[in-house]
Symmetry: C2
């Protein structure tokens, strides 16, 4: 172990894995700003601004668009523990590791979990989801948008309408895709969405933007129990079962983020500053421009990898724009290549889990790192590292192919 | 609402309330440092350093000394939801709002909650706690160390020994006192403690240091269920009931913070940097020096307030070193004084809740703000503001009395 009294001095890295990635320096700067008291009028105004900004990022009019103070997983659990009453049937279509996480969390919330699965590297046709909803009649359908474990993005347009037809609420985990791929929450009728900052939003992990609509509000308000110690004497608890978490109780978070400002936790000031800056930067760039930037980087990265003679993983028609799965060539040892990239070039790429462990690398092009220079640097470094590890790609082919994509794109 | 696209530009404040308070500028700077990947060897080394540093801050040898990624309340809930099995009897001695919070969270964890209460402004004699433990035979005793709602600090030396004699686990919420008042976790036999950064540790809210000993480890490991999606096929779940939260599941957090590095959430990088810096600064100052700094500020502040003709709230023998309760004089309107201090002087002091709402102000002297200049500035500003609001203190008496305390103290 190093000396814990040494100055903090993180080595410079280009983080081209599935996230976290390098934060935008403007976001890092925002976190260094002076703190404010949680009920300081200047701070509650920032809270309101954050709500407005994330309505833009989520493409929603939802009043309840706020931050959960924790990593992306806290946002997922806040939605699920508030939406799921013990005994509710919850349907989870699983196409990667994070589908299993939805099941896991739902089960801990007391759900009767039903799932359908598809091979890692594929997604579900809408019909299969519809059939499962008809069969199981779930109260909640929980789906991942982009599952970084497989690099696949599940098409969600249409799922919301099916859920409404069957009186189910649709929750979506958009941690890995928000602001990198299109996710029009209202247009697609998604009832609840949560995310994190550390992927396409180019911030640090530790704050989870969440948005829920009036259908979710109606369900969770039935379960509202104002906390003992601050409840007024005439407070009437809801007639639904109490939410199993206090920290992640959406109705109490709503009271804290509303004009009532009813005390709950102490809002994580610096993380809120970061979240505000992330959204401000994303909306200033404009969502369509941002989606296009991620899409071209994906085309350039995949073109470069193919030109190097590498095989891509999974159904390329449904691949996430911001993460690419690459099959590890048989002649090399995957971890040796990752270590070489990190030690010689300061570049991080991702390994994988479960059925894909040791079989694919995952290369991210997202947020602040999603730009031509990084695609080219990463491909060049990978080529050199593969060569030292026994796999020889055509010299320069990867970089040239990626450059050609950017040339065509005008970029 | 302001323009959410404006640059972040928080007004300068001197935060002399019950927390959050101004962060040490070195902590703000730490948060602006570049991110690292969660399994980057440089980052996992920082995680190990954080564990070592907080062992120092908690005065413990506990292996499981780590951060929960959320505000102080997340740390409380992580301990309670992991330690409390549904049906367990939990005893909570309540001496302020945060005792009610312990009951509230315990109940959501499925506990059979028993409580004893004492008037706000007082604490419990050891004998009363012992009698309640004998009567209720709890599995867990949950206590607040310093309850900012009343400004009282419960003496805890001896409670741990009683709990062991009756086979109960002792959890303590040290959010408001850690590194400002002595809390020798091992010497006092406290089994689990959680805290936050935003009080005496002079950091931002959003990270919760937690330490648990081998007694807690033994209980929670019985409840270990490795998450679906990453569990090896031969994983054997514990024979205890599954923990109701995934995000706040201590056994999974232990696996993530151990050499296993089993993926759970993505550690909140910037908040970990902040937590590391907070602990490093506290230990460099030295805990005894830090406790003394808080104690003298408390004596100076209380001497100043008394000299102004103000009455202090609660049992002064058991007052927290870092927060002082002041009875609002009948002739003034409490909120008008708080607004005047904020608007004219940029100084924030606290209001109160529940039975004390409108009756007392709470003035903090903690962490980075716990220093002579702030005690003097705050007293001078309060004197002027009170005068404008109809309460005339002897001119200069508050500042002079506080200065005299520092003079006696050598400083």
């Amino acid at each position: 172990m190093g000396d814990p009294f040494d100055d903090l001095n993180p080595p410079p890295r280009l983080m081209m894995g599935p996230g976290p990635i390098n934060a935008d320096p403007r976001v890092e700067r925002a976190m260094a700003m002076p703190l404010l008291g949680q009920f300081d009028p200047a701070f509650t105004e920032y809270m309101n601004e954050v709500m407005a900004l994330y309505r833009g990022v989520f493409q929603t009019e939802n009043r309840w668009t706020l931050l959960v103070d924790g990593t992306a997983r806290a946002g997922i659990e806040a939605c699920l523990v508030s939406m799921i009453e013990p005994g509710d049937v919850v349907l989870v279509p699983i196409f990667g590791r994070f589908g299993h996480l939805m099941c896991e969390i739902s089960r801990r919330c007391g759900a009767d979990v039903r799932s359908i699965e598809t091979d890692w590297g594929t997604v579900f046709p809408l019909e299969r989801i519809e059939a499962a909803i008809k069969q199981h009649q779930p109260k909640v359908v929980a789906m991942v948008h982009g599952d970084t474990s497989t690099t696949m993005a599940q098409p969600l347009d249409g799922v919301g309408a099916i859920c409404r037809a069957h009186d189910a609420l649709l929750y979506c985990d958009a941690t890995a895709t928000l602001s990198g791929m299109d996710l029009p929450v209202d247009a697609w009728q998604i009832d609840a969405v949560s995310a994190g900052l550390q992927k396409c939003l180019a911030g640090p992990p530790g704050s989870a933007p969440v948005t829920v609509n009036a259908r979710v509000e109606a369900k969770v308000l039935r379960r509202k129990h104002i906390e003992q110690g601050i409840a007024p004497p005439d407070a009437e608890p809801g007639d639904g079962p109490i939410i199993r978490s206090n920290y992640l109780d959406l109705p109490m978070l709503m009271d804290y983020w509303s004009e009532k400002r009813l005390n709950h936790h102490t809002e994580a000031t610096s993380m809120l500053y970061a979240a505000r800056e992330c959204a401000r930067i994303a909306l200033k760039e404009g969502l369509p421009a941002r989606f296009a930037r991620h899409a071209v980087a994906s085309r350039a990265m995949t073109a470069g990898l193919r030109a190097m003679g590498l095989a891509l993983f999974g159904d390329q028609a449904n691949k996430m724009a911001n993460v690419t799965g690459v099959v590890i060539p048989e002649v090399v040892e995957g971890e040796a290549v990752r270590s070489g990239l990190l030690e010689d070039f300061g570049i991080e790429i991702g390994t994988s889990f479960g059925p894909l462990a040791g079989k694919i690398w995952r290369i991210g092009t997202m947020g602040y790192n999603c730009r031509k220079q990084n695609v080219l640097l990463c491909l060049g470094a990978l080529e050199a590292t593969l060569r030292r590890n026994g796999f020889t790609a055509p010299a320069g082919a990867g970089v040239d192919a990626a450059m050609a994509v950017y040339d065509e794109d005008g970029g």
